[in-house]
C-alpha cells in the first residue's frame, strides 16, 4: 500500500473536519498524497512545473519543491488552503490566470482534494524523489550490452537468462516446454503464417534428433513465405495502405496506385535478410542513395503512403508522426501544437524534424509495361491533378521544393504562422543526439534526372515501333508503312543523340540532335496524315450506319454516338495534322525526350536523417526494432506501447533483455533472421501455453503473464486464418502477383491475403478478415484480437471454407476410407494433432447424425447439391458428412489460435 498518510498517522484512513471557503464545517475523508494528489499534479502540472520546464521558477514534483515555491513564493501554506497560491491559481475565475493554462480546468472535486490535503497540513512522504532527469530515461540512454544474469534450471540460450532470472525474482514457476505438435504448429504459424502439412507434421514427429526443431526453424527462415508473413507485420507498423479517397469514383486522395511495389520490396527485403538499418535508409531516402535502382526506390512507398491529395501540410505531418513512431518510438506529433508534455521535445524540434521532409514531392516513374510518361504532373493540393488511377507506374518521392522554408505555426493550424519565429532548419530531437545531424547535398546521376535513359525505356520504345511497322507491312498500306518506318528511324536517332549527350558514345551531338528532330517531325507528319486519312474514311462509314439503323431506336442511338465520335476524331486528326505540317518549317534541334526531366540534385536531408536513425549510436532505433520483433513472436511487447518509448510509455518488463537484444541486433549487422532464430530457439519461446499443476499459483501473481511464465496463446491474425484455410486444403496459389487483388475476390481468389488491397475505408478489408481484426491501415502498431459471433458465421457460411472443406474431405476420404483414420487425418491436417478419444467419439457421432440426416433427405428428395460454387457438396451421405466435419474443424478454437 502506498499510503504514507496511513503510516504517518498510524491509521489507514482518518476523518477530519475542515473549514471550507463556505463557513459550513464539512466532514471530509483524508486525502492521500501519493494516490490522489501526486498523480493529479503529474497529469495537470508537471509539463510546465517539473523536470522538463520550471515556469515561474516553480516545480511541483515533490512536496518539498512545492513548499520551496517559485518566483512568487511558496505554492502552498500547510493548513491554509485559501492562502495557498496553488489553490488560488487552479480555482481562478479569470481564464488567463487559471492554471493549468494549456489544459482543462481542474474539476471542483479535484480542487477539493487539493484543499483537503493542504488543510490536513500537506503531509508528505519521506525521501520523496523529484522527477528523473529525462536524459536518464531508459530508452534515451546509450545502448549497452548487459551481462547475462545467473539462472538455475534448464535454459537454451542467452534470452533465457533474462527471462528465467526475472521469473525467479518474481517467484513465478515457468511452464514446461510444449509438446512437439504444439511447437511445430507454433513455429509454422509464427514464421510462415500457415500450419505444417500432414507430411511435415509426421516427418517432424519421426525426427528424434536433438536438433529436429532447429532444423525446422532454419528451413522456415529460408522459406519465401517468411517474407509474406513477416512482411505483413512490418506493413502494419509502416501503415501500408492501398490508395484511397473515393475508390468508387475513382478519386485518389491518399497513398497512391502502384504502392504495392513497396509491399513487394518489403517481402523481398525480408527474404533476402536485408539489414534493418539498410531498410530504414531505403524507405526514407532510396531516391538519394540508390537513385539508379527502381526496385529500391519503391521503398519510398513508406513516404508515398502518407501522400494526401487535398493537403500537402497533412502529408508532412504524417511523415513526422509516423517516422517518429515507427522507427524511433517517439510521439513527435505530441509536440505539434506545443512543447511535448512528457518528453523533452520542443515544438521547434517538431518543426525541425518536419524540415527533413519539406522539399519532397511525389512523382510517377515509368515501369516496364506501364507505357510512356510524357510529362511531370506537379502536385497541386486541392486540384484534380494526379487523382485518377492510370496505367502502372512507380510512385516515389524526390526532392523538388528546394526553396520551401519550414515555418512554425500555432495551434496545429498552418494558417497561423508564428511570425516571430524564423524558419526552422532540419534537425532531430537533441535529447537523443538528433541535433548533431550533418546534411550533405547530393548530386544525382543523369538517369535519376532523366529516366528516359533507362535501357528498358529505349527497348520498349523501339519494340513498340517495330510492332507498328510489322502490322503496317501486313496491311500493305504504303502510307502507314512509310509512317511507321519513319517513326522507327526517328526513335533510333533520338536514342543515338541521347547516348552522345548523356553516355559515353562519341559523336557530334548538335548534328545528331538536329537529325533526330528532323526525323521526328517527318514521322509525326506521316503519322498525322495516315491518321487523318483513316478518320476521314470513318465519318461516311458512320453516316451510313446511321441511315441503316432506320427506325430501330437503340441502333440509331449507338450509330449516332459513333458518328459523333468519328467527327470529333476527325477534328482532332485535322488539328494534329496542321500542327505537324507547321512544324516542318522548324529547324531547331529539340527532339522529344524519352521521359520528363527532374532536378539532378537532392538536398540530402532524408539521407542524413535516415543515417542518424539507422545508426548504432541512436539509442532508440535498435530497441524499438527488437521490441517489434518480440511483440509478434510472443504476442506481447517488452515495452508498451510499441510506438512510445518516451516517458509516458510503460517501463519495459525486461529492460535488460531489450538492451541485450538491441545490442545483439547491432552486432548481427542489423540482420533480423539471427534475432528471429535466437528468439524462437529460446526455452522461453518453447514453453507450454497451458497452466499446469505446477504453474497455477502464477495465475494469482501474474494473471496476465507479463513475465512470460508460459507462452501466450492468442487469436491468430486474420491473414493466418484465411491463408491457412487455403493452405491446408492445398489450394493456396503461390504464383507471385504484381498488383493488388480486389477485396471482392477475397472469398474466391486462392491467393495469400497479403496480396489483397487494403485501405482504411468502406470496402478496404475483405469481409472475412475484417471480422478477425484485419489491420487498420492508419494505425496498427499492434493488433487487437476479438471474439465475436460473426466470426463463426464467417467460417461456416463462407464460400471459401465451404469449397475448401469439400476439397480436403475428398482428398482425405480417398486416402482414408476408414472413418477413424479419416477423422485423425482431418485433425492432423487442420489442427496439427490427432484427436483425443473424446473428440474421436464426438466426431463419429456427428458423422452418423449427418449421414442419417442425408439419408432421410434423399428419401424426401430434399437433398440438393445446387450451389453455384465451383465445388458443390457431395450427394453421397458418407462423403458429405465428412465434408461438413472438415468444415467444422475450421471453426475449432485451435484453428484460429496461435498455440
Amino acid at each position: 500500500m502506498n499510503s504514507f498518510a496511513g503510516s504517518a498517522n498510524g491509521a489507514g484512513r482518518i476523518t477530519l473536519v475542515l473549514l471550507l471557503w463556505s463557513v459550513l464545517p464539512v466532514e471530509v475523508t483524508a486525502v492521500d498524497y501519493l494516490s490522489e494528489i501526486k498523480p493529479l499534479l503529474k497529469e495537470k502540472c508537471y509539463a510546465c512545473h517539473g523536470v522538463l520546464k520550471q515556469k515561474g521558477g516553480l516545480r511541483l514534483d515533490t512536496v518539498e519543491l512545492i513548499l520551496k515555491g517559485g518566483k512568487s513564493g511558496p505554492a502552498l501554506v500547510p493548513g491554509d488552503p485559501a492562502g495557498s497560491s496553488m489553490v488560488v491559481r487552479v480555482s481562478h475565475a479569470d481564464d488567463d490566470e487559471r492554471m493549468p493554462q494549456e489544459a482543462a480546468a481542474l474539476s471542483s472535486g479535484q480542487i477539493e482534494r487539493i484543499r483537503g490535503w493542504i488543510a490536513a497540513g500537506a503531509p508528505a512522504p519521506e525521501n520523496e524523489k523529484p522527477e528523473n532527469d529525462p536524459a536518464d530515461h531508459w530508452s534515451f540512454r546509450p545502448i549497452s550490452r548487459p551481462p547475462l544474469p545467473d539462472v538455475d534450471g534448464p535454459i537454451r540460450n542467452e534470452i533465457d537468462h533474462f527471462i528465467f532470472a526475472k521469473l525467479t525474482e518474481k517467484n513465478l514457476v515457468p511452464s514446461e516446454e510444449a509438446s512437439k505438435p504444439v511447437l511445430l504448429r507454433r513455429i509454422y504459424l509464427d514464421l510462415v503464417g500457415v500450419p505444417p502439412t500432414r507430411e511435415e507434421f509426421q516427418a517432424f514427429l519421426a525426427d528424434n534428433s536433438e536438433t529436429a526443431y532447429e532444423k525446422v526453424v532454419d528451413r522456415l527462415l529460408e522459406d519465401s513465405r517468411y517474407g509474406e508473413r513477416w512482411g505483413r507485420h512490418w506493413m502494419d507498423i509502416w501503415r501500408y495502405s492501398s490508395w484511397y479517397g473515393r475508390r468508387s469514383v475513382p478519386d485518389v486522395r491518399n497513398s497512391y496506385p502502384g504502392i504495392w511495389r513497396w509491399r513487394d520490396w518489403i517481402i523481398r527485403s525480408l527474404n533476402e535478410d536485408k539489414p534493418y538499418d539498410r531498410m530504414i535508409i531505403e524507405m526514407l531516402a532510396a531516391d538519394e542513395i540508390a537513385p539508379e535502382n527502381d526496385e529500391t526506390i519503391a521503398a519510398t512507398g513508406f513516404l508515398v503512403r502518407n501522400w494526401f491529395a487535398l493537403n500537402s501540410e497533412q502529408w508532412r505531418r504524417d511523415q513526422v508522426e509516423h517516422t517518429g513512431k515507427a522507427f524511433l518510438g517517439l510521439t513527435l506529433n505530441c509536440a505539434h501544437c506545443h512543447d511535448h508534455k512528457y518528453d523533452p521535445i520542443s515544438q521547434r524540434e517538431y518543426f525541425a524534424f518536419r524540415a527533413f521532409f519539406e522539399p519532397i514531392e511525389l512523382r510517377q516513374d515509368r515501369v516496364p509495361g506501364g507505357g510512356h510518361i510524357d510529362k511531370y504532373v506537379p502536385y497541386v493540393p486541392g486540384t484534380t491533378s494526379l487523382r485518377k488511377p492510370g496505367p502502372q507506374v512507380l510512385p516515389r518521392v524526390f526532392d523538388d521544393r528546394f526553396d520551401d522554408e519550414t515555418r512554425m505555426y500555432a495551434g496545429g493550424d498552418e494558417r497561423n504562422i508564428i511570425q516571430d519565429e524564423p524558419p526552422v532548419a532540419p534537425s532531430g530531437p537533441a535529447i537523443v543526439g538528433g541535433d548533431k545531424i550533418e546534411i550533405q547535398p547530393i548530386e544525382l546521376p543523369e538517369v535519376a534526372a532523366y529516366p528516359g535513359l533507362k535501357e528498358f525505356v529505349r527497348r520498349e520504345e523501339i519494340t513498340k515501333r517495330e510492332t507498328t511497322l510489322e502490322s503496317a507491312r501486313q496491311s500493305k498500306d504504303r502510307a502507314r508503312i512509310a509512317a511507321a518506318e519513319a517513326d522507327l528511324k526517328a526513335i533510333h536517332a533520338r536514342i543515338a543523340a541521347d547516348r552522345v549527350k548523356y553516355e559515353d558514345d562519341e559523336g557530334d551531338f548538335e548534328a545528331l540532335a538536329k537529325k533526330a528532330a528532323e526525323l521526328e517531325r517527318l514521322a509525326n507528319l506521316l503519322i498525322a496524315q495516315t491518321e487523318f486519312a483513316a478518320a476521314e474514311k470513318s465519318v461516311p462509314a458512320a453516316e451510313a450506319e446511321v441511315k441503316q439503323a432506320g427506325e430501330d431506336e437503340a441502333k440509331k442511338k449507338s450509330a449516332e454516338a459513333a458518328l459523333k465520335k468519328a467527327k470529333s476524331d476527325l477534328a482532332a486528326a485535322q488539328k494534329k495534322l496542321t500542327t505537324a505540317k507547321a512544324a516542318q518549317s522548324k529547324t531547331d534541334v529539340g527532339y522529344t525526350p524519352l521521359s520528363p526531366s527532374y532536378h539532378q540534385k537532392s538536398t540530402g536531408r532524408r539521407t542524413a536523417l535516415a543515417n542518424w536513425i539507422a545508426s548504432p549510436e541512436n539509442p532508440l532505433t535498435a530497441r524499438v526494432a527488437v521490441n517489434h520483433l518480440w511483440a509478434r513472436h510472443f504476442r506481447q511487447p517488452l515495452a508498451e506501447p510499441v510506438y512510445d518509448f518516451g516517458r509516458r510509455g510503460k517501463a519495459p518488463t525486461h529492460p535488460k533483455l531489450i538492451d541485450w537484444l538491441a545490442s545483439e541486433l547491432i552486432a548481427a549487422e542489423w540482420k533480423m533472421k539471427p534475432i528471429h532464430r535466437l528468439i524462437v530457439t529460446s526455452r522461453a519461446y518453447r514453453l507450454d501455453s497451458a497452466a499446469s499443476e505446477t504453474t497455477r499459483d502464477n495465475l494469482a501473481a501474474d494473471p496476465d503473464n507479463r513475465f512470460l511464465w508460459r507462452f501466450r496463446r492468442d487469436q491468430a491474425e486474420a491473414e493466418v486464418i484465411r491463408d491457412s484455410i487455403l493452405h491446408v486444403t492445398g489450394r493456396l496459389d503461390p504464383t507471385p502477383i504484381y498488383d493488388e487483388i480486389p477485396n471482392k475476390e477475397a472469398d474466391t481468389a486462392l491467393r495469400r491475403t497479403v496480396y489483397f488491397e487494403t485501405f482504411p475505408e468502406e470496402g478496404g478489408k475483405g469481409a472475412m478478415v475484417a471480422l478477425f481484426d484485419a489491420p487498420d491501415p492508419c494505425d496498427c502498431y499492434q493488433r487487437s484480437s476479438t471474439v465475436m459471433p460473426q466470426q463463426a458465421l464467417a467460417i461456416l457460411n463462407n464460400p471459401l471454407t465451404l469449397t475448401s472443406s469439400r476439397v480436403l474431405a475428398r482428398e482425405l476420404a480417398n486416402q482414408f476410407p476408414d472413418e477413424d483414420k479419416f477423422i485423425t487425418a482431418a485433425f492432423e491436417s487442420i489442427l496439427t494433432r490427432g484427436p483425443s478419444a473424446d473428440e474421436l467419439a464426438a466426431c463419429r457421432g456427428f458423422l452418423m447424425k449427418q449421414r442419417d440426416l442425408y439419408a432421410s433427405a434423399i428419401a424426401t428428395k430434399t437433398l440438393t447439391t445446387q450451389t453455384g460454387l465451383d465445388v458443390p457438396p457431395s450427394d453421397k451421405p458418407q462423403l458429405r458428412s465428412r465434408e461438413t466435419l472438415v468444415q467444422t474443424l475450421f471453426g475449432h478454437s485451435e484453428f484460429v489460435t496461435l498455440p
Binding site: 484511397y244 494473471p703 482504411p760 469481409a767 461456416l796 457460411n797 473428440e839 471453426g891 475449432h892 478454437s893
Partner: protein, 492 residues
C-alpha cells in the same frame, strides 16, 4: 471449475467464470444487464467498462438519424426573417455585424482542402415559408408538415457548430474530430463499448443505409476500440442482410445445426485443457450467438411482420418517395425494440441536402422523402411507449450559408456552413416542445454558448448513463474537445 484457478483479481475471476476476459468483452456485457454497476474506481486500476450504466440512465437506446449532405438550418428549423428583409443585399448593407469578421469565423471553418473557400456575402432569401405548430408554437418549415405535427415532442437545438467546411464534417460529427486531426472511434462505438447489448442475438450497433461513401466509413467505425464495437451495416431486403449471415447454398438447416453443435462440443473439450483461457469460452459462447443471430437478424429486418397501417404510417408504399426512408426507420424501431443500443440511420440521398444549386427544388424533394417516415417513427415510438426509453437524434454535418453561393455562376443555392446549424432530439430524457439556443439574426453564427458537435455525444452518453471520461482506454488520451459537455439546457 478447479478452485485453484480462481485465484485472480475479483473482476478477472468474474469475467472468466462467465467465459470472458477482455477479449470476450462484447459477450460479457450481456451478463451485466439491469441495474447499475458498481464503479470500478475503487481499485484505481483501469478496467474495461462493465456494460452497465454508471448512473441511472434516462434512455436505453438511441436512433441516430443522419442526413448526409448538410441540410439548411434556415429552411428547416431556424427561420430568419432578416434574410427575406435584406434579400439581395450584402451583409454590409444590414445593421448587423459583419459575420466574416467574427472572432470565431476562421477558427470554425478549417478547410481540409488546402485553399481558401469562397465567401458569399449576398443574402439569399428563405426558400420556404414557416408556420408555428403545436402547443409549443415552434416554427417549422412548410416542407415538413408531418414532422411539424410532432413538434410538441421535439427539442430543437439551433446553436450547433462544427469546424470543417467540407463533407469530412460527416465523419467529424460522428467521431468528434476534424479530418486533419487524429481519427477517433465513432459515437455509436462508444455507446456499444460502454453498454454492450440488450439482445446478444443482434449486433448492438446497427447501421441502416450507410456508410454513405467509401470515405465516410469512419462515421460508423470503432477505430482503436476494435472491430466488435464497429457499426454493422444491415441490408434491408438483401438475401444476406449482414456478411455471412446466410447458410451456404444447398446447406440444410439441420445439417448446419449439427455443425454448430459439434463446434461447441469440440471447443468445450479443448477448453478443458485451457480452463483459464477466456478466449476459448468466449468462442464457445460465440457459436451459440452466431446460430441465433443467423435467425434473429432476418427476423428483425422482416417488415412484412408489421401491419399495413404501421407500414403506411412510415410512408412505406410501393413506388412512394418515402419508401426507402420509411423502411430504414421502421427497421430502426424494430431493432431498438429488440434491444439494439444504437441504430444509425442514413435515410436520404446526399444530393438533396448538399444544395449548392437549386436549393428549393432539392430540399423540397429531400424533405418529401423523409418528412413522413421521421414523423411516423416518432409517433410509432410514442404510441408504443418506446419514446420514453429511446432517444431520437436528428442531425446533419453542417448548415448552409445565409449568403447566396455564386461559385461558377451558380445562383440558387447555399454553400456549406459550419458556423451554425440546427438539429433536434426527441424522446427519453429531453424536453418536449422546446427550442434551445439560437443563431444570430442572419442565421450565421451560433450564439453563445454554441455547441460543438461532441456536446451531442456527451448528451447522448449522459442520457444512457455513461460518461465518456470514464470510458477512456489506456494509452489513448482523449482531449476535452472529444468529451464535449452535456447540453444541460435540453434535459427534461
Amino acid at each position: 471449475m478447479d478452485p485453484l484457478l480462481r485465484q485472480k483479481s475479483p473482476r478477472r475471476t468474474f469475467l472468466s467464470d462467465c467465459g470472458m476476459g477482455f477479449t470476450g468483452l462484447a459477450l460479457s456485457t450481456m451478463l451485466f444487464r439491469d441495474g447499475i454497476s458498481k464503479a470500478n474506481a475503487e481499485s484505481g486500476a483501469w478496467a474495461p467498462p462493465t456494460g452497465q450504466p454508471l448512473f441511472q440512465p434516462k434512455a436505453k437506446s438511441v436512433i441516430w438519424i443522419f442526413l448526409s449532405g448538410g441540410y439548411s438550418h434556415l429552411e428547416t428549423f431556424d427561420p430568419k426573417p432578416a434574410l427575406n428583409k435584406f434579400a439581395g443585399k450584402t451583409f454590409d448593407d444590414t445593421p448587423f455585424a459583419d459575420p466574416f469578421k467574427h472572432p470565431y469565423h476562421d477558427a470554425r471553418s478549417r478547410s481540409v482542402i488546402q485553399k481558401k473557400r469562397d465567401l458569399y456575402p449576398e443574402i439569399m432569401p428563405l426558400q420556404i415559408g414557416f408556420k408555428k405548430h403545436g402547443q409549443s408554437g415552434i416554427e417549422v418549415a412548410d416542407w415538413l408538415p408531418n414532422i411539424a405535427s410532432c413538434v410538441d415532442d421535439l427539442c430543437v437545438v439551433r446553436n450547433m457548430y462544427t469546424t470543417d467546411n467540407d463533407h469530412a464534417a460527416e465523419n467529424q460529427i460522428h467521431t468528434g474530430r476534424h479530418k486533419l486531426d487524429s481519427i477517433e472511434p465513432s459515437i455509436g462505438s462508444w455507446v456499444h463499448y460502454g453498454l454492450g447489448s440488450l439482445n446478444d442475438n443482434l449486433p448492438s450497433f446497427c447501421v441502416l443505409g450507410g456508410p454513405t461513401r467509401n470515405n465516410t466509413r469512419t462515421s460508423i467505425d470503432s477505430n482503436y476500440l476494435g472491430p466488435k464495437h464497429a457499426g454493422i451495416p444491415l441490408k434491408i431486403g438483401a438475401a444476406s442482410p449482414l456478411p455471412y449471415a446466410k447458410r451456404g447454398a444447398a446447406v440444410l438447416a439441420e445439417e448446419q445445426a449439427n455443425q454448430f453443435e459439434l463446434a461447441r462440443e469440440l471447443n468445450g473439450l479443448a477448453a478443458v485443457q485451457y480452463p483459464e483461457d477466456d478466449a476459448i469460452r468466449a468462442r464457445i459462447k460465440s457459436y451459440e450467438l452466431a446460430f441465433n443471430m443467423q435467425m434473429a437478424v432476418p427476423e428483425a429486418l422482416d417488415l412484412k411482420k408489421e401491419s399495413v397501417a404501421i407500414r403506411e404510417s412510415y410512408g412505406i408504399e410501393s413506388g412512394s418517395v418515402t419508401t426507402t426512408a420509411g423502411q430504414r426507420l421502421l427497421t430502426a424501431r424494430r431493432l431498438v425494440e429488440r434491444g439494439v443500443r444504437f441504430v444509425q440511420v442514413f435515410p436520404s440521398r446526399y444530393g438533396y441536402w448538399d444544395s449548392h444549386q437549386k436549393l428549393k427544388e432539392n430540399h423540397g424533394k429531400g424533405c418529401a422523402t423523409i418528412d413522413k417516415p421521421v414523423a411516423g417513427l416518432i409517433k410509432d415510438l410514442k404510441q408504443r411507449g418506446l419514446l420514453d426509453e429511446t432517444l431520437v437524434v436528428f442531425c446533419t454535418e453542417f448548415g448552409r450559408t445565409p449568403g447566396l453561393e455564386t461559385r461558377s455562376g451558380k445562383k440558387d443555392g447555399r454553400d456549406h456552413h459550419p458556423h451554425g446549424f440546427s438539429i433536434f432530439f426527441a424522446g427519453a430524457g429531453v424536453k418536449k416542445g422546446h427550442v434551445y439556443g439560437a443563431t444570430d439574426e442572419l442565421g450565421f453564427h451560433a450564439l453563445e454558448p454554441g455547441h460543438y458537435i461532441t456536446d451531442i455525444h456527451a448528451t447522448v452518453l449522459h442520457l444512457l448513463g455513461l460518461d465518456s471520461r470514464k470510458l477512456e482506454v489506456p494509452g489513448r488520451k482523449r482531449l476535452d474537445i472529444d468529451h464535449g459537455n452535456v447540453m444541460k439546457g435540453i434535459l427534461a
